[in-house]
């Protein structure tokens, strides 16, 4: 019988009632008295020198409060970067200033130049049309390799080149890897692109800022995955506001996918302007603005080489990647192609020698940063593609080649600096082959052939590092923040509980799953527990939600705080029952004295804590509220085997995804239904990337895919029915729940499985096609078949 509550139960998502009935309270639902509206004037060229900005006519337009340009931000800091990468030679990355509004130059289509603040949005837009901006267009820097040529146009004149950093990992392995590849029996080489993506959360970004001159307090309501991080970055580095005078609230947030992690100029602008004009300032991104101002994802160009011995054992792996940073460094951008990517290049395999070289490059495009998976999909994609290609080249079954090289003993220290604590990759592979009826594939392929279609089966096995991360480790790697998480558990007098978490839910269902954990620990009903998040005035300093870290790190903090609560409650219970604390047991919300029929209910103990008439006041304080900060000992390492079956229409090149199977090991599961939903969403995004999503610029740096007319988002009928399994469980060894995280897996494992499947279909039909870059649009597949 499935449980009906607590850990392991598919409790229904309590937050969905408000989300599905229009009762959610999003940032755009917040309107403050006397509020003004900001309209950003953005560059329509990719690169240019600003000769002049004339705001005089705009200032006279009806309803205009003020027009801001860069000159208003003298003395204000730039938008900071939160991670400093050190290059191969021990030098820090080149780090350009990212001004709130463009100073002297514009560097991408969408770069904000000026802002009109007016009584209404319509008036702000009318006035914006009266702002005269004279720009001399410069050549746009777009191709990453060309950008590194001597004499190339520079995105930032004050930097020595367009190279942000040239990173080598592990640098000491470089020569050994070169030598191993040189002498290998077989080397498989693959050049590929990881396509640029736009996150496109359903809710666009919004900021509403207020300043109270009587208290000197600022409040910023913003669409963020991590309000404390925004408070720290904006307060300390941009505007110089101490934390106790700045409250950041991220209420209901309609999807993030990474794009709402970062501190954006618009947030700083609204906060700054609110004080300047003495009225609240609101900005709501249009969808068109989102395409050209939300941080984009991925955009890597990679050459990968895998050396194998005659039996197919992996000997060495070498990668050479160019990673697009865009025009400025977004908050965590430098860490994505390095520490979140290079450290995963071992995958599930025992490859003894690995060298990863990444050149991060500035271009005249929107900044690029983490997008669901963040570095790990880039690693998995190239690795699982090259392994598949190697299998075909060497005539070894792709499943067998993987099995031959699987890591089977744990803990396992990879040559790329991480230690996997647990895993069972054969188990997930077995599960995949079973659930996808791999044995029946040939018969299905024959049916397809009879119908004039080409059927293919593709697999991928992924590893990811979630639960970011031990603070001392990431500090050594260049993070300018700690990556612990926090929780305060506040037990009320009658026994109900409010948990204030530093994690932030923007669709993940924390309000349900976090409550299940506390309910399980105490043995009370989930309805007695509320999860509070998203407000720096209510929650302890926490680092927020991204990188599949919330249950592994935030959940662990909550467990630690709840343990403190239980320990104190046991003392109280012992006092009430005149028993020894050592004999007190807590089960199903009842404290009992072991071996007796004495018991006292949870609510009686909590009441005693707040009405301490009969209470050990000499030993413990009244009240029942505890806070814990949890800093993980390691990353967590979810893994899984993904399989995909496709049919290609040979006449048109159109690929139909017939089925997709995901066999994951997420460690212990809190809420299976929510996990399944997370995997479904991840698969939709991964299949979207592989099949249809493509953010493209033309040679002038104009965004070709700047709306849904040209940027294809996956819709229900683009996706097959999913088979999702998470019955393979190797619990994480170093966090109290044994959990690993599941938010990104679907987006990590699915693109290589899909491309492998299409290549399989084409090769089975006799086409000499070894790779097609994503997205696998019909014209590309057709061109590959007919080249």
């Amino acid at each position: 019988m499935p449980k009906d509550g607590g850990i392991g139960a598919s409790s229904k998502r309590r937050e969905d009632l408000r989300f599905l009935t229009g009762k959610g309270k999003y940032t755009d639902d917040i309107n403050l008295r006397d509020q003004t509206y900001a309209y950003f004037i953005r560059s329509d060229v990719a690169h240019g020198t600003i000769n002049s900005i004339d705001i005089s006519a705009a200032m006279k337009m009806p309803g205009v409060e003020r027009v801001f340009t860069a000159s208003d931000f003298e003395g204000v800091g730039g938008v900071p970067c939160g991670w400093q990468v050190t290059d191969r030679h021990g030098q820090p990355m080149q780090e350009p200033k990212h001004p709130v509004l463009a100073e002297g130059k514009v560097r991408h289509v969408g770069d904000p130049i000026a802002v009109v603040v007016a009584d209404s949005l319509a008036e702000a837009r009318d006035a914006a049309e009266q702002v005269e901006i004279d720009i001399t267009e410069l050549p746009a820097v777009l191709n990453m390799k060309d950008a590194l040529n001597d004499g190339a146009t520079k995105v930032h004149d004050d930097l020595t080149s367009n190279l942000c950093y040239d990173w080598g990992f592990v640098e000491e392995n470089r020569d050994a890897v070169d030598a191993a590849i040189k002498g290998a029996h077989h080397v498989t080489t693959l050049e590929l692109k990881n396509n640029r993506l736009v996150a496109n959360p359903m809710e666009p970004r919004v900021a509403v800022a207020d300043f109270d001159s009587s208290t000197d307090e600022y409040t910023l309501y913003t669409t963020s995955q991590n309000p404390h991080v925004i408070r720290l970055l904006m307060g300390a580095f941009v505007l110089g506001i101490p934390e106790h005078k700045l409250r950041v609230v991220a209420p209901d947030v309609g999807g993030g996918f990474g794009a709402k992690i970062y501190h954006y100029a618009e947030e700083a602008f609204c906060t700054f302007a609110a004080k300047q004009i003495g009225r609240p300032v609101k900005w709501t991104s249009s969808r068109s603005e989102a395409f050209m101002s939300d941080a984009h994802g991925r955009d890597h160009v990679t050459k990968i080489e895998l050396a194998l011995d005659k039996d197919g054992k992996f000997l060495a792996l070498r990668t050479d990647t160019h990673a697009n940073m865009g025009a400025y460094l977004s908050t965590f951008a430098p860490s994505i192609p390095t520490w979140l990517h290079g450290t995963l290049m071992a995958g599930n395999y025992t490859t003894p020698l690995i060298y990863v070289n990444v050149k991060a490059v500035f271009t005249n495009t929107v900044p690029v940063d983490a997008y669901r998976g963040a570095g790990r999909p880039e690693a998995t994609f190239q690795l699982e593609r090259v392994v598949d290609k190697a299998a075909r080249e060497m005539g070894i079954d792709p499943v067998e080649l993987r099995r031959k090289n699987f890591i089977t003993e744990f803990p396992y220290a990879t040559p790329v600096a991480v230690e996997y604590d647990t895993g069972d990759y054969h188990a997930t592979m077995d599960k995949l082959l079973e659930l996808s009826d791999h044995a029946g594939f040939e018969a299905r392929a024959a049916t397809s052939k009879a119908n004039g279609k080409l059927r293919g089966f593709g697999i991928a096995h992924y590893i990811e590092a979630c639960g970011i991360a031990p603070s001392n480790l990431v500090g050594q790697l260049g993070a300018r923040a700690g990556l612990y998480e926090s929780a305060t558990v506040r037990v009320n007098a009658t026994g109900s509980i409010s948990v204030m978490t530093g994690s932030h839910s923007h669709g993940q269902g924390h309000e349900t799953s976090f409550a299940q954990v506390v309910a399980e620990m105490i043995g009370i009903d989930e309805s007695q527990i509320d999860i509070v998040h998203g407000d720096t005035a209510k929650t302890p300093m926490g680092m927020g939600t991204y990188g599949s870290r919330s249950i592994a790190v935030g959940g662990s903090a909550m467990v630690r705080a709840t343990e403190k609560i239980i320990n104190k409650a046991r003392k109280i219970a012992a006092h009430l029952m005149e028993a020894s604390e050592a004999d007190i047991e807590l089960k199903d919300g009842q404290f009992t004295v072991a071996g007796t029929d004495k018991s006292v209910a949870w609510g009686d103990v909590t009441l005693a804590a707040y009405v301490p008439h009969n209470y050990p006041l000499e030993d413990i304080e009244p009240g029942l509220e505890e806070t814990a900060f949890y800093d993980p000992a390691n990353f967590t390492y979810p893994s899984g085997a993904y399989g995909c079956e496709v049919e290609v229409d040979p006449e048109t090149g159109k690929v139909t995804v017939l089925g997709f199977t995901a066999a994951d090991d997420f460690g212990n599961i809190i809420n299976p239904m929510i996990v399944e939903g997370q995997v479904h969403g991840g698969l939709a995004q991964g299949i979207g990337q592989a099949m249809i999503e493509n953010c493209a610029y033309d040679d002038d740096g104009q965004l070709l895919s700047g709306s849904y007319m040209d940027y294809a988002m996956p819709r229900a009928d683009d996706l097959p029915m999913f088979t999702v399994d998470h019955s393979s469980v190797t619990p994480c060894t170093h966090n109290p729940l044994g959990v690993k995280g599941c938010g990104e897996a679907g987006a990590i494992g699915s693109p290589p499985a899909l491309v492998n499947a299409v290549v399989d279909a084409l090769q089975r039909a006799g086409h000499d096609v070894t790779h097609i870059d994503m997205p696998l649009s019909p014209d590309r597949v057709w061109a590959a078949m007919n080249s």
């Binding site: 090149g653 159109k654 493209a696 007319m709 040209d710 014209d779 057709w782």
Partner: protein, 263 residues
């Protein structure tokens, strides 16, 4: 969106007057293109004249010649539900999504003449007659290129008359983002010959593929298309979603499929 006035006449004559006594009036059909354009401030008409309330422009009937006559303000959903011209109803049923089909109108679509829209292929492929407040225009004379038609300033499409072929079908290969036609081919077989109209493919908008028409008029079978060369890629659209050569290939494939599915 800029400010504008909106008028909702109930008779064609009133609409024509409202169009003519403003220097900058724009007829409004279902608004599926015009409203987004206005929201982006890419158009700034002083007055919108809505066709939606003109009863004499809404509805479907047959004339004495057996032609299907569709009022200019009739929605795609209504045409899809009609069924007396299956190829046309099938096309209408696949335009956009339910919201588009319940708002968008045949007159609006034909007046806009988006090079990737579906209805122009049906009108040209059927040899329809576009009826305006002033005149009747043969489809062959109506479509003048991308977003360009024979309509004059202030002229309103009041009705479209479709001869009903023996068999017909519209084969549509969708662009994955917009789900407009990357290439759409409408094939109609009449007693006196076959018409083949192609949308989505050409920089000149909807057009007929004469080689296919000749081959199909000789022998109406998918095999007749299989033995044809694909049309030239010259003048076909190359964009993010496909090259001209790919579109040319798709024109042939989709024509074959339209013939095979024609009923």
């Amino acid at each position: 969106m800029y400010d504008f006035d909106i008028e909702r006449p109930s008779r064609i004559a009133d609409a024509v007057k409202l169009m003519s006594d403003s220097t900058d009036a724009q007829p409004l059909g279902g608004g599926q293109t015009l409203i987004p354009t206005l929201k982006q401030r890419l158009a700034s008409p002083e007055r919108l004249v809505s066709m939606a309330g003109i009863d004499e422009m809404v509805g479907i009937c047959k004339d004495d010649a057996g032609r299907l006559c569709i009022g200019g303000a009739t929605t795609h959903a209504a045409v899809a539900a009609d069924g007396s011209y299956p190829g046309l109803s099938g096309l209408a049923a696949r335009i956009g999504d339910p919201a588009v089909r319940n708002r968008g109108t045949i007159g609006g679509s034909l007046a806009n003449n988006d090079p990737a829209a579906c209805y122009p292929a049906a009108a040209l492929g059927s040899g329809a007659t576009i009826v305006t407040n002033k005149r009747e225009i043969a489809a062959d004379d109506y479509f003048r290129g991308m977003f360009d038609t024979a309509l004059e300033e202030g002229e309103i499409i009041t009705e479209v008359k479709f001869p009903i072929p023996e068999v017909s079908h519209y084969a549509k290969f969708v662009q994955p983002a917009s789900r407009f036609a990357l290439v759409g081919v409408f094939v109609a077989k009449f007693a006196d010959g076959v018409r083949v109209a192609v949308t989505g493919a050409s920089e000149s908008g909807v057009h007929r593929w004469s080689a296919a028409e000749e081959a199909l008029s000789r022998s109406f079978s998918a095999g007749s298309i299989g033995s044809l060369e694909a049309p030239s890629a010259d003048g076909l659209i190359t964009d993010l979603h496909g090259t001209g050569a790919y579109r040319a290939h798709l024109v042939k494939v989709m024509t074959g499929r339209a013939v095979a599915a024609a009923s």
